[in-house]
C-alpha cells in the first residue's frame, strides 16, 4: 500500500495551495441540481434536449445540445475534467468512462444518448479521502508518468475487475488495450492492476 495517504498529501501541499489559488477555479459541479446551461444568446439556435442521468451516484437533469459528446458534457458543463480528450475520435482511450458499468469512449458517445443511464468517471473512484485499491496500486507501482492517460486506464481496469476480479496478465493487457500510454508505461499499469486484484480480497469493504 502507498505510504502517502490522501489526507497526508493534502496537508503536505500547503505551498502548492499558493498555485492552486492562482489557477482559475474550474466550473464547480453542482450536486443534485438542475443545471441548465444558458443558451448562447447571439449564437444560432441549435437543437437541445433535456436529459436525466446519474454521474458518480448523483442524479442530474440538464439540457444538452444534441451535438455535444458525453466527454464535452462532463468536462465543459459538469466540471468533471478528470476524463481527458487525447484524440476525440475513439483511438486513445483517455476519455474512458463507465456507462452502466461498461467502459465507453466518452468522446465517441453523444450526451443525449445517456438519458436515464448511469455514468462513473475517475472522480467517482475514491470514497471521500479513501482511495480505491486501484488508485493505491497505481501510485505504488508508478502507473502515471505524465498522467494524461491514467483516468482512462483506471476506468478500463475498474470495469475489468468488476467482471473478473482475478485476471491473468494477458487478460489485463487485453482489457486495457484500448488505452494508449505514449509514455509507454504499459508494464507498470499491468503490474498495478494485478497488484490491486491480488490485494482486493483483503481490502476493507470488499467481500
Amino acid at each position: 500500500m502507498s505510504k502517502i495517504s490522501r489526507r497526508e498529501f493534502l496537508e503536505g501541499t500547503g505551498g502548492a495551495l499558493v498555485i492552486a489559488a492562482a489557477v482559475p477555479r474550474l466550473v464547480q459541479a453542482v450536486p443534485l441540481a438542475t443545471s441548465t446551461v444558458p443558451a448562447e444568446t447571439e449564437a444560432p439556435a441549435v437543437p437541445r434536449t433535456a436529459i436525466r442521468l446519474a454521474v458518480n451516484g448523483v442524479d442530474r437533469r440538464i439540457e444538452v445540445e444534441d451535438r455535444w459528446t458525453l466527454v464535452e458534457l462532463l468536462r465543459d458543463h459538469l466540471g468533471l475534467t478528470g476524463s481527458k480528450i487525447g484524440c476525440d475520435r475513439g483511438e486513445c482511450g483517455a476519455c474512458t468512462v463507465l456507462l452502466d458499468g461498461r467502459p465507453v469512449y466518452s468522446c465517441s458517445y453523444l450526451a443525449v444518448w445517456v438519458d436515464g443511464r448511469s455514468i462513473q468517471t475517475v472522480e467517482g473512484l475514491a470514497q471521500g479521502d479513501r482511495l480505491h485499491p486501484l488508485q493505491e496500486a497505481f501510485i505504488e507501482h508508478d502507473g502515471p508518468q505524465c498522467g494524461f492517460c491514467t483516468p482512462g486506464q483506471l476506468m478500463s481496469a475498474q470495469a475489468l475487475l468488476e467482471r473478473n476480479p482475478h485476471p491473468t496478465p494477458d487478460q489485463v493487457r487485453a482489457a486495457l488495450s484500448g488505452n494508449i500510454c505514449r509514455c509507454s508505461n504499459y508494464n507498470r499499469y499491468v503490474e498495478a492492476v494485478l497488484a490491486a486484484a491480488a490485494g482486493s480480497a483483503t481490502a476493507p469493504g470488499k467481500p
Binding site: D88, F138, D142, T150, L176, R182, N185
Partner: protein
C-alpha cells in the same frame, strides 16, 4: 558509492494522488469566465501561394469574435524556425497543415463552423518530400537561398565533423563495408494535444501553456509579442507529455494571445489530434550512407557518413544524425545535409538525432561483426568509445559494464545462434545495440523558503512532463537538507512563483536544476547555522543561481539494450518478447520513476523499429494516416516486459553524481530490435520501420 538517505530510495511521486484522482489540472482543464474557443484553419496543399483570403462570411456568424490571417497578423514565431523568418501565418504555405487562419468564437462548434466558411483561393506550387531529391538541381525552392538549410553562420553548407584522415583510413583498411540506411518521419504523439489559454489583464498576459519549460516559454512569448518579460506569466501545473515537441513557446501560445487581445476576452486554443500529428513537428527522416574500414584484428580504421535529414520547410531542429561517436576510430568524417522539404516540420523528439542514427551505425556494425565472424558483444567491447571523439576523457563511463551486465542478465551466449539458424516458421533471434547521450551541466536556479512551522518550500521552475521532476527535486533537497521528504513542498510550474529552470528538455532537469537545489540547500544550512530556525513571522530564504561548465572532459550517459524477437515468417509479424535494458545514468535519484522512464523509452523505440510512420501520398504531398491507429503507436498488447539494470557509476559532477536519464532509453532500442530481426531471419532490413511487407519481401 555511499548509500544516501533520500536519494536512491524508490519513492512514489509526490503529486501521484492528484494524477490518479482526476484532480490534477492540465491546461485543457482550465476554464475562465467569458472564455472563447479557438480553432486553426490549415493548408490542404503541400505547397501553395494564397491568392486571396476572404473571412467576411465567417466573421458574420453570431458568436465569432476574432479571426486572424497572414494579412492581419504579422507576428514572427522566432522559435518556429532557427534560420528564416517564420510568421504565425505564412504565404506561401509550405506543407499540408501550415496555418492559414485562426478563429475565436463563443463555442468551439461555432469556431469550427466559421473556419469552414473562410474562403481561400490557393495557387498550387510544385512540392518535394525527399531530402536528398530536394538538394538536386532544378528542385523547387522552398525557402529563399535554396533547400540546403543554412548553418548557424548563415552559410548554405552541410554540418561537417572530421578527425584523422578518412580517405587514408579507408585506403589502409583490410576490408571496407559500404551501406545505406533510412528512417522515416514519425510523431511524438504525446497523449495531451496542444492547448493554450491566454488571458490579458491590462497589459499583463497570462498564458496557461502546455509546455516543457515555463521559463523559456515566457522569454519566447515576450520576445515575439514585443513585451517586457515581466509582463508575461506562464503557468503549467500538469503536463500531458511532449517528448520534445513542447519545448519553448509554440505558435498556438502566440495565436491564443493575439486572438485574446483582439477579442477582448480569454481564449482557449485547442489542436485536434490530426493537427498535432501534422502541424507541429515529429522526428526528422534520414538517409544515411556509410563507409567503414576495418583492420584484420577487428578494430576500426575509418568511419565515413554522408547523411540527409528532412527538416520540413522550416528549420526548427538541428537535423543531426548521431551514433558514430559510440566507436573508437582514428579516422572519422560525418557530413550531414539538413534539407528543406514540404513534409511536416521535423524537430525535437526524445533524443532528437540518436535513435535513427544509431539504427544506421549499429545495424552496420552488427553486420560487420557477422561478416568478420566476431560475436556482436565482443565486437563492441573491442571497439566501443574510450574517450569522447577519441580525445576527451569521460567523467565516468559504465558503457562496458552495461554491455557485460546486460549480456549476462539476458543470457546472450545461450540465446544467440547463427543468423537465420532457427528453422521456423516462427523464428527467434537476438540483437543488441549501444547508446550514449550527453549529460551536460548548465544554467538554472532554485529557491528554498523555510517557515516557522518548519516546512520547507522548494521553488523550482520545472513543469514535470511525466519524468517525476517534482519528486526528484524534492528528494535532492531532502537529502542535502537532511530532512524527511514529508517536510517539503514543491512550488513549480508558474513563472510568477518560480525562478529560472532550463525546462524538461535535453534530459537536463535533474542535473541543471538539481545542482541549483543542492546549492540553495547549502545556503539555507549556512543561514540556519548562523541565525537559527525562523520564529513567528520570520522566514529564511535561500537561493542559488548556477552556470557550471565542463572543461577538458566529456560527460555522457550510456546504455546497452538486448532484445529477443519472434518473427512469424508466414505472416511477416515481428514481436519482441524479451528485453533487457542496462543503463549508466550515474547515481539514480529515484529508482521507481527512473525504471519507468527506461521501460517507457525502450518500448517507444520498439514502435519506431516495427511500425510507426506518418505516411505521405507521393502524388499530393498530403499525410495519410495521422492519428494513433493510422500511425500505429505501441499498445498494451505490443509491449514486452522490459527488465531494467542500472549500472551506477560514481560521477564527480551533477547532484550526488546523477547523469541524464530521460532520453537515453529510446536510443539503442530501435537498432537492437532491428539486429534481433536480422538474427532471426538471416536477412537485414535497412529501411525503417520494419513492417510486415518488408519482412515478407526478404523471407519469400
Amino acid at each position: 558509492m555511499t548509500p544516501l538517505k533520500s536519494v536512491g530510495r524508490a519513492t512514489p511521486r509526490i503529486d501521484a494522488v492528484k494524477r490518479v484522482t482526476g484532480t490534477a489540472t492540465y491546461t485543457g482543464d482550465i476554464q475562465l469566465p467569458g472564455m472563447l474557443y479557438a480553432r486553426v484553419l490549415r493548408s490542404p496543399y503541400a505547397h501553395a501561394r494564397i491568392r486571396s483570403i476572404d473571412v467576411s462570411e465567417a466573421m458574420a456568424i453570431p458568436g465569432v469574435k476574432a479571426i486572424i490571417t497572414y494579412r492581419t497578423c504579422r507576428v514572427v514565431w522566432s522559435s518556429g524556425d532557427m534560420r528564416n523568418k517564420r510568421y504565425l501565418f505564412n504565404n506561401p504555405v509550405r506543407f499540408a497543415g501550415d496555418a492559414v487562419a485562426a478563429v475565436a468564437a463563443s463555442t468551439r462548434h461555432i469556431a469550427e463552423e466559421a473556419m469552414r466558411l473562410i474562403d481561400v483561393d490557393y495557387e498550387e506550387l510544385p512540392f518535394i518530400l525527399d531530402p536528398e531529391e530536394a538538394l538536386k538541381p532544378g528542385a523547387v525552392e522552398i525557402q529563399p537561398g535554396g533547400n540546403l538549410s543554412p548553418n548557424a553562420k548563415g552559410e548554405h553548407e552541410p554540418e561537417v565533423y572530421r578527425r584523422g584522415n578518412v580517405d587514408e583510413g579507408l585506403r589502409s583498411a583490410d576490408r571496407v563495408f559500404e551501406d545505406r540506411y533510412t528512417s522515416v518521419h514519425l510523431n511524438n504523439a504525446q497523449l495531451e494535444p496542444r492547448v493554450s489559454v491566454a488571458q490579458w489583464e491590462g497589459d499583463k498576459l497570462t498564458v496557461y501553456a502546455s509546455t516543457q519549460g515555463i521559463s523559456n516559454c515566457r522569454t519566447d512569448i515576450a520576445k515575439d509579442l514585443q513585451l517586457p518579460p515581466e509582463k508575461v506569466r506562464v503557468v503549467c501545473q500538469y503536463m500531458g507529455g511532449g517528448f520534445g515537441n513542447k519545448n519553448q513557446c509554440h505558435d498556438f501560445d502566440l495565436m491564443a494571445a493575439v486572438l485574446a487581445k483582439k477579442a477582448g476576452a480569454p481564449v482557449k486554443l485547442e489542436f485536434t489530434r490530426k493537427e498535432d500529428y501534422t502541424a507541429v513537428h515529429g522526428r526528422w527522416p534520414t538517409k544515411q550512407y556509410y563507409k567503414v574500414g576495418v583492420n584484420r584484428d577487428g578494430t576500426l580504421s575509418a568511419i565515413q557518413l554522408r547523411g540527409y535529414s528532412g527538416m520540413g520547410p522550416y528549420r526548427k531542429g538541428v537535423g543531426g544524425i548521431a551514433g558514430v561517436e559510440l566507436y573508437q576510430c582514428p579516422n572519422v568524417e560525418t557530413v550531414i545535409y539538413p534539407a528543406y522539404t514540404n513534409m511536416a516540420v521535423s524537430a525535437n523528439y526524445r533524443a532528437p538525432a540518436y535513435p535513427q542514427g544509431v539504427f544506421g551505425i549499429e545495424s552496420l556494425m552488427d553486420d560487420i561483426a557477422y561478416k568478420l565472424k566476431i560475436d556482436p558483444v565482443e565486437f563492441r567491447l573491442k571497439n566501443l568509445t574510450r574517450k569522447h571523439h577519441d580525445e576527451l576523457p569521460y567523467t565516468s563511463s559504465g558503457l562496458e559494464d552495461c554491455l557485460r551486465r546486460g549480456a549476462q542478465a539476458f543470457e546472450w551466449k545461450k540465446r544467440w545462434h547463427p543468423p537465420g539458424a532457427d528453422p521456423g516458421p516462427i523464428k527467434r533471434g537476438v540483437g543488441l545495440a549501444m547508446g550514449a547521450f550527453g549529460s551536460s551541466l548548465g544554467r538554472s536556479s532554485a529557491v528554498i523558503r523555510l517557515d516557522s512551522r518548519g516546512r520547507f518550500h522548494l521553488h523550482v521552475g520545472v513543469t514535470d512532463v511525466g519524468t517525476g521532476a517534482k519528486t526528484t527535486m524534492a528528494l535532492i533537497a531532502a537529502e542535502e537538507l537532511g530532512v524527511p521528504l514529508e517536510k517539503l513542498d514543491v512550488v513549480s510550474g508558474d513563472t510568477d512563483l518560480c525562478p529560472y529552470s532550463v525546462g524538461e528538455s535535453g534530459s537536463r532537469t535533474t542535473n541543471y536544476t538539481g545542482d541549483a537545489v543542492v546549492q540553495a540547500a547549502r545556503d539555507l544550512k549556512r543561514q540556519l547555522a548562523e541565525k537559527g530556525m525562523p520564529q513567528g513571522n520570520e522566514v529564511r530564504i535561500a537561493s542559488a543561481t548556477l552556470e557550471p561548465t565542463l572543461k577538458d572532459v566529456a560527460r555522457y550517459s550510456f546504455a546497452a539494450h538486448f532484445v529477443e524477437v519472434e518473427v512469424d515468417t508466414e505472416l511477416g509479424h515481428a514481436r519482441v518478447h524479451k528485453y533487457v535494458a542496462a543503463h549508466d545514468s550515474g547515481r539514480i535519484v529515484n529508482p521507481l520513476t527512473a525504471t519507468s522512464q527506461v521501460k517507457g523509452g525502450a518500448t517507444m523505440g520498439i514502435g519506431m523499429a516495427l511500425h510507426e510512420e506518418l505516411l505521405y501520398d507521393p502524388g499530393t504531398g498530403v499525410p495519410l494516416n495521422a492519428g494513433y491507429y493510422g500511425a500505429r503507436v505501441m499498445t498494451h498488447r505490443d509491449a514486452p516486459e522490459v527488465e531494467v539494470i542500472f549500472v551506477e557509476t560514481d560521477d564527480p559532477y551533477g547532484p550526488f553524481g546523477a547523469k541524464a536519464l530521460g532520453e537515453p532509453p529510446i536510443i539503442p532500442s530501435v537498432a537492437a530490435v532491428a539486429n534481433a530481426i536480422f538474427n532471426a531471419i538471416g536477412r537485414r532490413i535497412k529501411d525503417l520501420p520494419i513492417t510486415r511487407d518488408k519482412i515478407l519481401g526478404v523471407v519469400a
